[in-house]
């Protein structure tokens, strides 16, 4: 009798243990975050964010690293409603309309009043997570008279310029909009002036920046925060951003959650986590961009240049979405004549 009860007890105990274990493992759920590769990489902000969020949520963060922000979008479009993505992290301003149109995104419900961007933030589908401005970078040791404006860059035939193809890269698209907001109707002729001293137009940022560092051009299209990388990581101060008097075109990187998120509750928690210190403090020296909320501690000295107040030139999102194709064609025609 006794042995029997012992057996019963032990089997009950075992069953409870198994149950609780399986309950535990289902509690430790996985949050799938689709992002671009350098964000998720070891030296990017990804690992720190994963650690910080996992402390709060009793869950596991799984980054799915895709090759670019465009890659994130086309991946979920490919997967459609059956996607295993909970959160998309790394789309940018100019992809927002396209992403909304897919009908795959859910409203985030996060209070974005803490966002410290010019004009605040009111979008219901996207939460911004970092920002910066596009800028042309030059090497101060080899370029003695750097240009002072976008018009200088366009008109000075001595300057050799590399930028990215707006059909295949987000910085390239950023420049397209930058030119449009500065030149408006006259953009076509500005493009053809620029084309006469353009070294090459590359597929993506990596090719362009690589060519620039190899000394192939005086100027390359990148971000205002690029010099900060060289200062912080390499102690190199010769790379600087061209001051553009017309103002700069902003890049804001955003996150969104999926309607079909397998793990909705976690996704919502993660969306509000984005605007907290634990997330934002990893951005500057992890992703080499600026945080979107005020932090207790100031950013490293190296970011001083990137933090300077500038006029943000920004075209309305719906206009961008509507006219992008026409503007790309304008660029194509102007640069191939």
């Amino acid at each position: 009798m006794k042995t029997l009860s012992f057996r019963t007890y032990s089997s009950i105990a075992l069953a409870t243990f198994t149950l609780s274990f399986s309950a535990l493992s289902s509690a430790a759920q996985t949050l799938n975050v689709y992002t671009y590769d350098s964000f998720a990489s070891d030296w990017g902000p990804g690992p720190k964010i994963k650690e910080n969020f996992e402390k709060l949520c009793d869950c596991e963060v799984n980054f799915v690293a895709l090759d670019s922000s465009v890659g994130i979008l086309s991946r979920v479009q490919l997967e459609g409603k059956s996607s295993s993505a909970d959160v998309l992290l790394g789309l940018d301003l100019n992809l927002m309309e396209a992403a909304k149109k897919t009908g795959l995104l859910a409203e985030h419900g996060v209070d974005t009043s803490v966002v410290n961007l010019e004009g605040g933030w009111s979008d219901k589908d996207f939460v911004p997570f970092d920002h910066g401005h596009f800028a042309f970078i030059y090497n101060a040791e080899t370029l003695e008279n750097p240009p002072k404006s976008l018009a200088d860059i366009v008109e000075n035939q001595e300057l050799k310029v590399i930028y990215q193809d707006p059909r295949t890269s987000t910085p390239g698209l950023g420049l397209l909009l930058w030119m449009k907001s500065v030149y408006g109707e006259k953009a076509a002729s500005a493009w053809s002036t620029l084309a006469s001293h353009t070294v090459t137009v590359t597929k993506g940022w990596s090719d362009a920046y690589g060519l620039f560092l190899k000394g192939e051009a005086d100027l390359v299209l990148s971000y205002t925060t690029s010099p900060a990388y060289h200062i912080e990581a390499e102690g190199e101060t010769k790379y600087q951003a061209v001051e553009t008097t017309e103002g700069r075109y902003p890049q804001v990187e955003v996150a969104a959650m999926m309607k079909s998120a397998p793990n909705k509750v976690l996704a919502e928690r993660f969306m509000s986590f984005i605007l907290t210190h634990d997330f934002q403090s990893t951005i500057a020296t992890g992703n080499w961009m600026l945080p979107v909320v005020d932090l207790d501690q100031p950013l490293p000295e190296a970011f001083a240049a990137a933090m300077k107040p500038v006029t943000s030139l920004m075209l309305p999102a719906d206009q961008v979405a509507e006219e992008r194709k026409a503007w790309v064609n304008e660029w194509l025609n102007a640069t191939t004549e």
Binding site: N62, S74, S82, A98
Partner: protein, 530 residues
């Protein structure tokens, strides 16, 4: 009865070819399901599209002609002369085609760029960005490939002909005219089509070194439609257009091409040296100089980071070895599948050979295998994914999609490696085998020593191609699936260019190592000669 057994033993091969065709057709159909044919005519009315097609054709024509014109004397030189470093050079040649384009581009820039070696040494500044840059890069990628293909043709020349040439006191020129050329000219159209396709769909090179949208290719438009706009309609239209253009060109070239009737007397080659002359020496020196100019310097530039202090640090990173592992996990199954598919094609093609009505199928099969080159990997992968998604299988399958697409993309190279050798065995031994009633396995056992080198080389090629693949993995990458090329891009994307350069060295050394392993050890020493 005997005939029936013959056909039933072909079943696995039919299954292989059938699988290849079915999956291809289904993935294209999946893409077409999302397209709206009514809109297609409006795409055709864009003048930019036509400019793009014109430029694609023009640069592909120039690139492939240039690669072949240089490859012919280089192959002849490499065949006739043995010198120090020759086999290393040949191995380097096999690797050059799999170097990720961004790495090759930066290598070429180090050599020919504004502040490059050429400019520093000679003060000559090439107008690199534009057609020059594209041609330099395409010759860098494809001339070595052409040399390898031509050397295989050399391996088919029966020893008897060399013996005779030796006895008659031929000099190199007569040997070339009377012996080599008659073999080469039959192989050149095939090589031309292969390289033409590769250059026609070239993408990263054209965008980086082309200088601007003026020189762009159809592939860019496809990439853009698929990745940027997710416009499946436009992507499938452009992909079909690309297939159409390439098919027309391929058919045209094949129409003009003489049929290669191989001699069947070859067993193993012994060397007969052809009379040397100053003219021949001079030509060889020129051919070799071409190699020294086009292929070696960018390679040295790519391998240069090996001597930096960063290199050891890179080697000690765990991430690197994880990436190596992932790459191998993709490359080995891909190469294995590619080899199985290739064997299916070879076995069927040679069965059809010389059997009356079936005969034309032997070339048709080869062309079918090559067809895959005309469709961008991205299109195949997307189609395949959509199809599997409709079947509800997509998530677990992304790894296998990467493997499969890599496998089929390597198929044309696998076929090029194996087909000539398989045809030859068939010619030589068909009657013997059928009179002895030897089938299937027993035939395999007899033939293995004769075909092993070409099989091993095909495997090595497929392995290298999958190892260097960037396109498909980028579409389906995830945390657990960061391959070596993807890791390279992560580093470059985070400004870590130097570390990226070191990873590129690791990738290339890995390719070299695996190539030597498979072509020498599995393929046997005999092959290493040619």
């Amino acid at each position: 009865m005997n005939r029936l057994i013959g056909i039933s033993s072909l079943l696995p091969a039919m299954l292989g070819v059938g699988l290849f065709v079915c999956i291809g057709v289904f993935s294209l159909m999946a893409l077409l399901r999302y397209s709206d044919v009514a809109e297609w005519s409006s795409f055709l009315s864009q003048p930019y599209l036509w400019r793009l097609i014109r430029f694609s054709l023009w640069q592909a024509l120039l690139s492939s002609l240039l690669s072949l014109v240089i490859a012919v004397p280089v192959a002849s030189c490499l065949f006739h002369r043995s010198f120090w470093g020759r086999s290393f050079l040949l191995q380097l040649f096999s690797v050059s085609m799999v170097v990720p384009s961004i790495v090759a581009i930066l290598g070429i820039v180090v050599v020919y760029g504004r502040t490059g070696w050429l400019a520093q040494i000679s003060g000559i500044e090439l107008p690199l960005y534009g057609l020059t840059g594209i041609l330099l890069a395409h010759v860098f990628f494809n001339m070595p490939l052409a040399v390898r293909l031509l050397l295989q043709v050399y391996a088919l020349i029966p020893t008897g002909q060399w013996r005779q040439a030796y006895q008659l006191g031929f000099d190199r020129w007569s040997a070339f005219r009377f012996i080599e050329w008659s073999y080469l000219r039959k192989a050149l159209p095939g090589a031309f089509v292969l390289i033409f396709m590769l250059c026609f769909s070239s993408f990263a090179v054209v965008l980086s070194l082309g200088g601007g949208p003026k020189s762009s290719t159809l592939e860019v438009a496809i990439y853009q439609a698929l990745r940027f706009d997710f416009d499946l309609n436009k992507a499938s239209f452009l992909a079909l257009l690309q297939v159409l253009i390439c098919t027309v060109i391929a058919l045209f070239v094949y129409k003009l091409a003489p049929v290669n009737h191989q001699d069947s007397s070859l067993l193993a080659q012994s060397r007969f040296s052809i009379r040397d002359s100053y003219g021949a020496k001079a030509l060889d020196v020129i051919a070799f100089l071409c190699v020294l100019v086009f292929v070696l310097p960018p390679f040295i530039a790519i391998l240069d980071p090996m001597f930096s202090t960063q290199f050891l640090q890179t080697l000690s990173s765990l991430r690197l070895w994880q990436a190596v592992l992932v790459s191998l996990k993709i490359a080995f199954p891909a190469a294995f599948i590619s080899l199985l598919l290739g064997l299916s094609f070879c076995v069927l093609a040679r069965y059809c050979m010389g059997r009356g009505k079936l005969d034309i199928w032997s070339t048709k099969l080869e062309q079918l295998g090559n067809l895959i080159l005309m469709v961008p990997g991205l299109v195949i992968a997307t189609g395949l994914f959509l199809w599997l998604r409709d079947l509800g299988l997509s998530f677990s399958s992304s790894y296998w999609i990467v493997v499969w697409v890599n496998a089929v993309m390597a198929l044309p190279f696998v076929l090029r490696c194996m087909m000539p050798c398989f045809y030859q065995q068939e010619r030589r031994f068909r009657h013997l085998y059928s009179s002895l009633g030897l089938q299937a396995w027993s035939r395999c056992k007899i033939e293995w020593p004769l075909v092993r080198s070409s099989v091993a080389q095909a495997f090595a090629f497929a392995l290298l191609l999958s190892l260097g693949d960037m396109g498909v993995i980028a579409l389906f990458g995830s945390q657990g699936m960061v391959s070596l090329p993807l890791y390279l891009f992560q580093l470059i994307g985070a400004y870590r260019l130097e570390e990226g350069a070191c990873v590129a060295v690791v990738l290339i050394l890995l390719c070299l190592g695996l190539y030597v392993l498979f072509s020498r050890i599995v393929g046997g020493r005999w092959h290493a000669q040619g």
